[in-house]
């Protein structure tokens, strides 16, 4: 029992919060502002709680497992959710169903926690669905917007289809090996064609969630149509969680088939970077733009994953931590502008610097970090991913990745140019930023600057592997 409490503490806390919200909602006694504040405090506590009373171990006959690394990964996700609750305060306050939104979001987060901790394909499947279905509902949260429902429709249908493929793959694995436990699977894997087929079916589900080319096509549409908070949740939290479990699965479960998945990861990584960048080049809508840029980022994550080493794990976790800060900062700025001015196009940002220097600088920092420009943390994150990937010694792979950094720089600079350089006779008015959003942006900015320069963070992560 004690084991149960400590090992499943993150999930229990989240569940507790969900129920708390449910009761509050039923009580109908709180104004939106107060409610949001309560939620923010709860999420902060949830994040902080992640640092205490942690233990390593397994539960339910190996279906659930946790290690310090997994706890860290969960903490990163909690941090992201906390930041989301801060950054999109504007939108939350206006929303009629805010507690529901958070309930859904936390449910999804709960699903992700289980996902990361899963030690069994059944657990994995359940957690994956738990982390997907609420998000589809969230995507439809702008109930009166056509695009929102279209996005939700695309999301739920695509993910249902992808689940079908995944399940088919799992059934093949089960058929081929007779087990669905992560611990037992490696002994049964021998690289037979059926297993390769199963691997690729399984892989496609990960690829779908991570938006790896060519399984990425839903991403941009859903990102664009969904409310900004959902977009950022999808692109940061959801991706982070799947990247963690993806890496764990490849490294631990499919280690015997390493030679095969290395090639798979490599070619898809290249494709993802290239396609993501090429599409990002021509986007006008900031959300769609960030969607494709995040696809390109996933290409880099794959690069780190391909290294199949401790350094790979460390650098991916490190990168996702940085990615949380950078991408959320970018979305936060976009949300602040969208909430007050209703503009989502990059061209609308022209001359932003004249009226909103704070937002402009945060946006610049975020984009530089995404582009991997020092001294922002993104530089270190990307560099370590590249270094980890390079340890396999494939120059071509690294050169393509490095050249992709240039394409990505081009489009990030396009936004910078709009913000800082282009003349605009009617720039956006001075935007009054919500205090909590401002706090969120500052945390992100601090994170972007410090996570890279403070090298002990990296070492801390590495010591957990």
């Amino acid at each position: 029992m004690n084991d149960f409490l400590t090992l499943m503490k993150p999930e229990l806390v989240i569940t507790g919060i969900i129920f708390l919200l449910l009761f509050i909602k039923l009580g109908k006694g709180l104004k939106n502002e107060t409610m949001l504040l309560v939620i923010q405090v709860l999420l902060l506590l949830n994040f902080l709680a992640g640092f205490f009373f942690n233990a390593e171990g397994t539960l339910f006959d190996g279906m659930y497992l946790t290690t310090n690394m997994i706890v860290l990964q969960k903490n990163i996700l909690s941090l992201g959710v906390y930041l989301i609750s801060l950054l999109f305060a504007d939108w939350f306050k206006k929303s009629e169903h805010m507690p529901e939104f958070f309930m859904l979001m936390l449910s999804a987060l709960l699903g992700m926690f289980f996902l990361i901790s899963s030690g069994n394909l059944l657990m994995f499947f359940l957690a994956l669905e738990l982390s997907t279905i609420p998000v589809a509902a969230m995507a439809n949260f702008d109930l009166d917007k056509k695009r929102s429902s279209e996005a939700a429709m695309k999301m739920i249908l695509s993910s249902a289809f992808s689940s079908g493929i995944l399940l088919f793959g799992i059934s093949l694995i089960y058929g081929a090996t007779g087990t669905i436990s992560f611990a037992e699977l490696p002994q049964q894997l021998n690289g037979s064609p059926l297993q390769i087929l199963a691997l690729i079916f399984l892989f496609s589900a990960f690829a779908f969630k991570l938006s790896i080319v060519p399984f990425h096509l839903w991403t941009a549409d859903v990102y664009e149509g969904s409310p900004m908070a959902v977009t950022s949740f999808l692109s940061v939290i959801s991706k982070g969680a799947v990247a963690f479990i993806f890496m764990a699965t490849l490294y631990k479960v499919f280690q015997p088939m390493h030679a095969i998945w290395y090639n798979l990861v490599m070619i898809l990584s290249i494709a993802t970077m290239i396609i993501g960048n090429l599409f990002a080049l021509r986007q006008q809508n900031i959300k769609r733009f960030l969607a494709f840029s995040s696809i390109a980022q996933v290409g880099f994550i794959l690069l780190g994953i391909s290294s199949n080493s401790i350094q790979g794990t460390t650098s991916v976790v490190y990168f996702i931590l940085i990615y949380v800060f950078s991408n959320l900062a970018a979305f936060g700025v976009a949300a602040a502008i969208a909430a007050k001015a209703g503009r989502e196009n990059i061209d609308d940002y022209k001359g932003l610097y004249q009226t909103n220097p704070f937002l402009s600088w945060v946006l610049a920092l975020a984009l530089f970090s995404l582009a991997g420009i020092p001294p922002t943390a993104g530089f270190f994150g990307k560099l370590f991913l590249l270094t980890a990937g390079a340890s396999k010694g494939s120059y071509l792979f690294i050169i393509i990745a490095a050249l992709n950094m240039i394409i990505s720089l081009y489009y990030y600079l396009r936004v910078i140019r709009s913000v800082f350089m282009d003349k605009n006779d009617e720039p956006l008015d001075k935007i009054k930023i919500e205090p909590s959003a401002k706090l969120g942006l500052m945390i992100c900015a601090a994170g972007i600057v410090l996570v890279g320069l403070l090298s002990w963070i990296y070492d801390y992560i590495q010591n957990l592997v």
Partner: protein
């Protein structure tokens, strides 16, 4: 040993003048700058005379041979072991002689300019530039290191550039200064590469060591230089020939002479100093400095020097006969006389009696400095008076400018080689040397000497006789004491300098050389000279149409010479048409369209691809699912069947 400080002060004083006047002149020395510059130079001159006296009569001679002393030397830039640029002073007969010539002529010009440039708004700048030039020229003549000479070589080039462009708002002056700089610069590349070759083989840049290495066949440097060859010519000869190209550019030898006539756009005293007496003989000086190497190790290079000199002398003399701008006539005459000095070196051998050409060349350099400076300063006085350079605006000036007239006549006689004026003696030695060693050159020289007399007296008669003067505007007289004093002093020099027993002091090997005087040999040149004078007198003494008729009868030759044999046009063609249109323009075009175009094409291509593939993101969820399934199956096939 000489006192190095004194010698170092000779060039450094003008430098101090340059810095002082250049930086503070406009503010503090608006009116006094001329005096300051002149005073500093006077001190330099005295020191130079003192040094020369000391060298020639006290410590220079050891065992009857004038030594090459290096009283001062410090390392300026160390390239590698043994190869370094040193800043130093070498003292040998020619540098001592040049010190005197340069300081003296410069002093004369400084004094003269006090009158000539009076009232000019950039007076301090003018004196600053004169100071810079004098410094550079003095630095050049005392250089102990071949790279040092190159450094000062460039510096005299730039001071010449600055002084030619002194009247900077005159477009012709701007064009001239540019041309002068670029043409000499072009030649300097040859010099530079020559230095590289010589220094590579000799392993040093120091003159004394370099000469010692490259003249003794047993050294490794000599062997490698003689053995290495390129299209059949040894590296040593290449090196020397390239060095000579540098000298030819500075000394306006054919075909690099085109800058010199244009350089007359500068103030006339500047022309006297730089483009007549000192800088233009730097090429001669350079060859003389390396003379042992030329003469002992590479006779081929030396005969190149001889022929280039001879051809230049003749061509310049021909052109001078038809020019109407008096300064241009003098410019071509300068070129012609330098040609003399060059071929005198070219026909000389090293040591003893055979080294007569060397002595003669240096002697001519010395006397030429006197009378050519005098001619220019005289011409300056005329221009000062009449405000024109054109012969057609002149005539009958002997009444108005008596002192100028007399001094100018003395100079003309000197250059024409009429005894007993200075030019006679030096030219006679040159002709003798040529006669003894190279008949072709001798005949060219002889013809040239006749032409020289003709065009000089054409000039003289056109200015001072011919038609009656029609002077308009106010009378300014001859320009006062400041302008007349140098004329007189130089005239004295031009008249008596020939009596100096030059061979006693300057000879190819430092030993005393007795120069005999051969009466019977002198008859031909003197007679030719006198004939030239009389023809000029017949044609130009009074206003008549003989010159026109004469020109018409020789119209082809006349036209060709009047247009300076179209050499300028050829150069214009090469630079404008070939270098600009065939190299520069394509380079710029390639850069803009191909190199840059490729860079831009990369960017645009990426965007185009992005546009082409946008169809995959069709917005149809069913198509997404199709791609999904196809990819899964495709990857599965790829990994199961092909990429195990």
């Amino acid at each position: 040993m000489p006192n190095a400080t004194y010698i170092a002060l000779i060039p450094l004083l003008p430098l101090a003048g340059f810095l002082m006047l250049g930086i503070f002149g406009r503010k503090y020395f608006k009116n006094t700058s001329g005096i300051i510059g002149t005073t500093l130079l006077l001190v330099s001159t005295v020191l130079a005379l003192y040094t020369a006296y000391g060298y020639f009569f006290e410590y220079g001679k050891v065992d009857g041979i004038y030594q090459k002393l290096v009283p001062l030397k410090y390392t300026w830039l160390q390239f590698s072991e043994g190869v370094s640029i040193d800043m130093g002073i070498i003292l040998d007969p020619i540098s001592a002689m040049m010190l005197v010539v340069v300081t003296f002529i410069s002093l004369m010009v400084h004094i003269y300019s006090l009158g000539y440039m009076k009232g000019d708004e950039r007076f301090p700048v003018y004196y600053a530039f004169l100071g810079l030039f004098t410094f550079s020229m003095l630095g050049l003549v005392v250089s102990s290191n071949i790279f040092q000479i190159y450094i000062f070589w460039e510096l005299v080039g730039v001071s010449s550039f600055l002084l030619i462009g002194y009247y900077y708002d005159k477009p012709s002056a701007v064009a001239a200064c540019k041309k002068a700089f670029i043409v000499t610069r072009f030649a300097d590349v040859g010099f530079l590469i020559g230095i590289l070759i010589l220094s590579f083989h000799s392993g040093t840049l120091d003159f004394n060591t370099l000469i010692a290495t490259l003249t003794s066949p047993e050294t490794a440097g000599y062997k490698s230089a003689a053995a290495a060859s390129f299209i059949g010519v040894s590296a040593l000869t290449w090196g020397l020939a390239l060095v000579f190209i540098g000298g030819a550019g500075k000394s306006a030898m054919f075909p690099l002479h085109i800058w010199l006539p244009d350089a007359m756009e500068g103030p006339t005293p500047v022309s006297a100093l730089i483009h007549a007496a000192t800088m233009v003989v730097a090429g001669v000086f350079l060859v003389a400095r390396l003379f042992p190497v030329f003469a002992i190790s590479s006779p081929n290079a030396l005969s190149l020097v001889g022929y280039v000199g001879a051809i230049s002398a003749l061509i310049a003399a021909l052109i001078a006969c038809t020019q109407t701008d008096i300064k241009r006539v003098l410019a071509y005459s300068t070129m012609s006389q330098i040609g003399y000095m060059m071929f005198a070196l070219g026909v000389s051998k090293y040591g003893g009696e055979d080294g007569l050409g060397f002595t003669a060349s240096m002697f001519h350099l010395f006397t030429h400095a006197m009378f050519k400076a005098l001619l220019f300063l005289g011409a300056g006085a005329v221009i000062h008076y009449i405000h024109s350079n054109e012969m057609k605006d002149m005539g009958g000036l002997r009444k108005y400018l008596p002192i100028t007239h007399i001094t100018f006549l003395i100079a003309c006689l000197a250059i024409a080689g009429v005894p007993p004026f200075a030019g006679f003696f030096s030219k006679e030695e040159i002709l003798l040397a040529a006669y003894e060693h190279n008949p072709t050159i001798y005949w060219i020289a002889l013809i040239t000497s006749g032409l020289t007399a003709f065009y000089m007296f054409r000039l003289y008669f056109n200015i001072f006789w011919n038609k009656e003067a029609h002077v308009h505007g106010e009378h300014k007289g001859e320009g006062g004491f400041a302008m007349m004093m140098p004329l007189v002093l130089l005239a004295v020099g031009a008249a008596v300098a020939g009596f100096i027993p030059f061979g006693h002091f300057v000879s190819s090997d430092g030993k005393r050389l007795e120069t005999a005087f051969h009466l019977q040999f002198s008859i031909a040149p003197v007679a030719l000279g006198l004939a030239g004078i009389f023809i000029a007198m017949w044609m130009y003494k009074t206003e008549n149409n003989k010159p026109d008729k004469f020109a018409a009868s020789l119209s082809g030759l006349y036209k060709a010479t009047y247009h300076k044999f179209y050499i300028d046009e050829i150069y214009t063609f090469i630079t404008k048409k070939i270098i600009f249109n065939l190299i520069g323009r394509p380079a710029a075009w390639i850069d803009k369209n191909i190199v840059d175009g490729l860079v831009n094409a990369t960017g645009n291509g990426t965007k185009d691809i992005s546009e082409i593939i946008k169809g995959f993101q069709s917005g149809k969820v069913q198509q997404y699912a199709i791609y999904f399934l196809v990819s899964v199956i495709g990857l599965a096939l790829l990994f199961i069947y092909w990429w195990k």
